[in-house]
């Protein structure tokens, strides 16, 4: 896996008051890779996502997307440059329909302004048709789960697992180059979790997305990851293949405590 670097974090730090949440973190994601970020609760995994998507600017260091710095840019600018994400606690547009949720995410790469839309100019009509087709295509990626009558149902009517799928569909409709998935299998039963692992593999192989994923379920991490990065207290403590990271003494210590690590 020595292809082109798509996302790079160089010495990124983030402090909240006196608490250093991310401390001089270096992270590289290559094009076409699935990289998993693991670590105990409070390790700073979601903060990494928030830094990459621009929710917070970093206090130090730089973030590069395809060689271009995105540090300090507004979130919607970063999104249009090719970063899309899902959320650990789902953040769907609950009172919009399933299809509208996905169509809304096409905003960043469409152009028609409100006056063109009101006048229904040919360009605006063409674009609207393209957005429809895009949304249908993205929803079709999930088989029958988000198809047919579900298009016109409000998002709040979906089951939990389908909401997670819809969030991924919405993220892909933003036409990202890198997809950030925050605990995609959280709260799912074993069958759904397995399905999610397969889905992530399909997103990489068929969808061509580069994926950075936070996940707690080690079976999922083992199944999907090209590389694994372990964080603890905002510091990268291990990086490499799943095998290397899972057997790393410091990772075991971070998860299970010092005494357990000693007795191993």
């Amino acid at each position: 896996m020595t292809s082109k670097v798509l996302l790079e974090l160089r010495g990124v730090s983030k402090r909240f008051g006196g608490l250093t949440v991310i401390d001089r973190l270096d992270l590289v994601v290559n094009e076409g890779e699935v990289v998993s970020v693991i670590g105990p609760n409070g390790a700073g995994k979601t903060t990494v996502f928030n830094l990459v998507t621009g929710v917070y600017p970093p206090d130090a260091g730089d973030l590069l997307l395809d060689g271009q710095s995105i540090a300090g840019l507004a979130p919607h600018r970063i999104s249009t440059l090719g970063v899309a994400r899902t959320f650990q606690t789902l953040r769907l547009f609950l009172n919009m329909t399933v299809k509208e949720n996905v169509m809304a995410a096409a905003y960043g790469h469409t152009r028609a302004n409100v006056f063109q839309s009101i006048l229904r100019t040919p360009a605006a009509r063409r674009e609207e048709r393209a957005i429809q087709a895009l949304a249908e295509e993205k929803l079709a990626f999930f088989g029958q789960r988000l198809m047919g009558y579900r298009w016109d149902q409000p998002a709040y009517s979906l089951s939990y697992a389908n909401r997670r799928r819809l969030e991924i569909a919405r993220a892909t409709a933003a036409k990202p180059r890198i997809l950030l998935l925050d605990e995609p299998a959280a709260g799912m039963n074993p069958v759904e979790t397995h399905e999610m692992s397969e889905l992530i593999a399909r997103l990489r192989d068929e969808g061509g997305y580069t994926i950075l994923v936070i996940e707690h379920d080690m079976h999922v991490v083992e199944g999907i990851s090209d590389r694994v990065v372990a964080l603890d207290h905002g510091i990268k403590i291990a990086e490499g293949s799943f095998e290397q990271v899972a057997t790393d003494g410091r990772v075991v210590e971070a998860y299970l405590g010092l005494r357990t690590a000693e007795t191993k």
């Binding site: 998507t53 621009g54 929710v55 507004a74 979130p75 919607h76 999104s79 249009t80 899309a84 994400r85 959320f87 953040r91 769907l92 547009f93 609950l94 009172n95 919009m96 509208e100 169509m103 809304a104 995410a105 096409a106 905003y107 960043g108 790469h109 469409t110 028609a112 302004n113 409100v114 839309s117 009101i118 229904r120 605006a124 674009e127 609207e128 957005i131 029958q144 009558y149 579900r150 149902q153 409000p154 709040y156 009517s157 979906l158 089951s159 697992a161 389908n162 919405r170 993220a171 933003a174 039963n189 069958v191 759904e192």
Partner: protein, 488 residues
């Protein structure tokens, strides 16, 4: 695979979806019927039907009063759909909204009256007013970048109050002491003597003309908003309402979209203000204050926040109700009709309904006979308005010829306690207690609420308030709104 579903649902289909058909058909009663009827009509046809029906009003009647009420209703409808852009679509609680209405009205007054001797025709002044109001809206919208929810509400309410204070005291303004003082707004006396609305040489000089003007404006604005909602921008507005952070992370420039929503709402209010002030032929600061704001909000909430047709329906229901309640005879009809409808809808099974209605008639005549025998003056009162139904009710209801207002006041307090008591008792006692409570309500209605002209003026709003409470309790999402989920 999901946990084994219950027998009634098919595998792979959420229970919610499986029961969707049942739920929509399950809407019982008048609201459900109304809802299903409205749902069946496609949207453009709905607008066409509304416009055609409204356009017939001036054909069927030349009553100036009816046309004026129709005009006012259309003005309210315009205000409600404009407010819907900011509150219903973008989810921004804007309490300064009617200031834009006032701004449009004052702008028309300044551009088309003897005040400064300017007499711009509408085709010149209206575009300027709409753009200027939209820009003011944009400036107020800047506060929504940092402030959300209640905080935004307070700041925008402050803006409305500032507008009222400035227009009230704007008869002696100077620019930082330079250039002498000028009378900008006419102060508390406002600006009278506005030009009639003149567009491309066509002067609108009748109530009928203004009705059609407002109808054309309302139709155009409705069509514009209909198209705007179903577009990239409309979806983005709703996304901002649902979850601003998620919207921004999905590539939507949240702040710019908020400003656009504010500018849209303000522009519509400005247009409405210019039309309304042209018919009123004068602008006064008091007309653009909190009472109007509350009325417009009541219309929007009653009709269903977020629904275009709901906002229009809300404006019609509220404004027409208020007008109907002006006249004692019409108000009495409305009162009796409302009680009858409620009883028919809520008291089941039908033998119970018959018992209540029969009991009500019997109880009334019995009370009337007892009072007539013991205190003859107690049944000699004259009905307000005094049409056939008003006189007919006199042989049933106690109506003292003197001290009616004082007795009515006490009865009002007792009525409130009785209604409270009614909510506490259960079963057959509730049915039994219902009869004297309704009779008491009718007594208070006749002897207090519509007994005098002053009382009637207050009763209009009292009844409107009660109507709102009952409707919102029965249908929190409004008449045509769809139920919202805040947290799941």
């Amino acid at each position: 695979m999901e946990p084994r579903p219950p027998e009634s649902t098919r595998i792979g289909v959420d229970e919610w979806v499986a029961s969707a058909a049942g739920r929509t058909s399950g809407h019982a009663g008048a609201f459900g019927l109304l809802r299903r009827l409205v749902d069946r009509v496609p949207d453009p046809a709905r607008l066409a039907i509304f416009v055609a029906a409204a356009a017939l009003v001036p054909v069927l009647t030349s009553d100036q009063y009816v046309l004026r009420v129709g005009f006012d209703t259309l003005i309210f409808a315009l205000l409600a759909i404009g407010l819907n852009v900011v509150v219903g679509l973008a989810g921004l609680l804007d309490l300064g909204y009617v200031a834009f209405f006032g701004f449009g009205a004052y702008a028309y007054a300044i551009l088309s009256s003897d005040h400064y001797g300017l007499h711009w025709p509408a085709e010149a002044s209206v575009p300027v007013i709409v753009v200027a109001t939209a820009i003011v809206g944009l400036l107020l919208g800047l506060s929504s970048w940092r402030l959300l929810g209640d905080y935004l509400a307070i700041v925008t309410l402050f803006f409305l109050q500032a507008f009222v204070v400035i227009t009230t005291n704007g008869n002696d303004v100077s620019f930082l002491g330079f250039g002498g003082s000028t009378d900008l707004t006419g102060g508390p006396n406002g600006i009278p003597g506005l030009d009639p609305f003149t567009i491309f040489g066509l002067e609108i000089d009748s109530e009928r003309g203004y009705f059609y003007l407002a109808l054309v404006a309302a139709s155009i604005v409705t069509a514009i908003l209909y198209l705007a909602v179903r577009s990239r921008t409309g979806r983005a507005w709703q996304a901002v309402r649902e979850d601003p952070l998620a919207a921004q992370l999905m590539g939507m420039p949240v702040n710019r979209l908020k400003l656009l929503a504010f500018a849209f709402g303000a522009g519509i209010a400005g247009l409405t203000g210019s039309i309304q002030s042209a018919l009123s032929a004068g602008v006064f600061p008091d007309n653009y204050d909190v009472p109007l704001l509350i009325t417009v909000y009541a219309m929007l909430i009653l009709g269903g926040v977020g629904s275009l047709s709901g906002a229009i329906l809300g404006a019609i229901v509220v404004n027409v109700s208020l007008e109907v309640l002006r006249d004692a005879n019409q108000a009495r009809w409305l009162f009796l009709f409302a009680i009858l409808i409620t009883l028919v809808a809520k008291v089941r099974p039908w033998p119970k309904l018959v018992a209540v209605l029969g009991g009500l008639v019997g109880f009334g005549y019995a009370m009337h006979a007892i009072v007539a025998a013991t205190w003859p003056a107690g049944t000699k009162g004259e009905p307000a308005g005094g049409d056939a139904i008003g006189r007919a009710i006199q042989s049933w209801l106690i109506h003292p010829s003197h001290s009616a207002l004082e007795i009515g006041n006490y009865a009002f307090v007792i009525l409130l306690l009785a209604v409270l008591g009614l909510t506490l008792v259960r079963g057959v006692w509730r049915t039994v207690a219902l009869v004297p409570t309704i009779y008491l309500a009718a007594f208070v209605w006749e002897n207090r609420l519509i007994a005098t002209v002053e009382a009637q003026a207050a009763t209009r709003f009292l009844v409107l308030g009660a109507l709102l409470i009952v409707l919102m309790a029965a249908r929190p999402q409004g008449l045509l709104g769809s139920s919202r989920v805040e947290i799941v």
